[in-house]
Symmetry: C2
Subunit: 263 residues, 2 copies
């Protein structure tokens, strides 16, 4: 069974011609989870030939635009394309109002049931569970309430194998408080908006550096680290990768369109 | 002086890999007007190397998502890139609430003054005027309140020349009530979502066909017609162009990234 993540956007705040802002598509044993949904995500899904009607759960980490401005367009397109299946959104409770006001002004009544599940950014809790996957949210450290997520495989046939897991931490300042939640995950995605020499700017903006992401990965004992959410100032990402790998060699770069098999 | 329009999106409701939904950039004697702003418009502006900080006025025809879902992202990016200049939005009054709720949840206070000018979709009125350009709105015939726009050159040095003008009519069913407003314009953009054999579907959805757009152009005596807002069902646009040209030979196709000099 597949367990992989496809990067739909690796940029921070502003989209560039080569990098969309945040969105990841996790295929966890054939359950498709969309994590964050920046402007342009529906096109990125098409570009990566992901059958987006198969997505049933969308997790939104926080309400900065580069993490959710594409959601209303995706939900509308799913409707126009005839979706009938349920869709579940896990997000800050205000997102429901934002989506609903936009559906109302366009006189759109969705053809499919849409459920909002409010996230509590102050606690660690299970937010989704079925027979194959369990997903948890936990607090990150950012300028607005923000959740990290971890998805763990729980298939019976993998009883004697190492179970696979994926943790998503964006956006966040460096904080060791998240270590218990992401400990020993197969793949940790941790934002690295800036290089080390901009550590001061990173702290002020409550973002992380390459060095901080790598340090966190090392301390949490994860198998692999993926960095991303790059500032638009970086055209060439090789120096970011080098900085992180100097501390945590099993680091890879998030790049738009890249699919990473997990475990 | 330049008088031209750049097509940033020529698709109807759903973006495709080759066509964005509606957005046009009018350069009217070096005043840049953005007309509609679908998801992905900020990237389309970049792709077409349009310096988007020069835009000072944005007209939104109506509140269907394929005409405004890209606005919040564009306004946010302008802010993040340090804009200080005024921005003016001409739209249905509900758009102000939609933008403001999204700025509030992200705790964003724009660095630049943003003014909303409510449009009245029931009347024909002047909505913008300076020493070079005058812009008017007028009622279209659609399933939600919708405005057409016409921009007319008024430069003194063109006193003895034919003045140039651009009319934008999307979305609308066929209606001859708009003829007085678009009469003899240099370039009329009129939506043509469907081909003639889908005339019934077009009428039901309050959209137009190629034949209707061409008929309107002929009756209004415009110099040139541009059709667009194509249904995603059409991969090849040549048959749409043929149908329209059979009635009004001076018809061209809206295509993403195409710039049309006017007059």
């Amino acid at each position: 069974m597949t367990f992989s993540v496809t990067v739909l956007g690796s940029s921070s705040a502003i989209p560039t011609l080569v990098r969309n802002p945040s969105a990841h598509l996790l295929n966890a044993d054939e359950r498709l989870f969309l994590i964050d949904c920046a402007e342009g995500t529906q096109l990125a899904l098409r570009r990566n030939r992901i059958h987006f009607q198969r997505i049933r759960n969308i997790m939104i980490s926080h309400l900065h635009g580069d993490h959710f401005y594409g959601l209303i367009g995706l939900l509308t397109s799913l409707h126009l394309l005839g979706r009938k299946d349920e869709m579940h959104i896990y997000a800050h409770p205000m997102l429901e109002s934002i989506i609903n006001i936009q559906l109302e002004v366009s006189k759109t009544t969705l053809l499919y049931p849409l459920y909002f599940h409010p996230l509590n950014p102050d606690v660690h809790e299970v937010i989704f569970e079925d027979n194959r996957v369990i997903a948890e949210s936990f607090p990150l450290l950012h300028s607005v309430p923000t959740c990290g997520f971890v998805f763990r495989e729980k298939l019976k046939y993998r009883r004697y194998l190492q179970k696979r897991s994926y943790a998503y931490c964006s956006d966040t300042a460096y904080t060791e408080s998240i270590i218990p939640y992401v400990k020993e995950t197969s793949l940790l995605y941790h934002e690295a908006t800036f290089m080390d020499k901009m550590a001061k700017a990173a702290a002020e903006k409550m973002h992380s550096t390459t060095v901080e992401a790598a340090t966190l990965a090392m301390k949490a004992g994860v198998r692999q680290l993926m960095i991303g959410h790059y500032s638009a100032r970086y055209d060439d990402l090789a120096p970011l990768l080098e900085e992180a790998q100097a501390i945590f060699p099993q680091t890879i770069l998030a790049e738009d369109g890249k699919t990473i098999p997990i475990g």
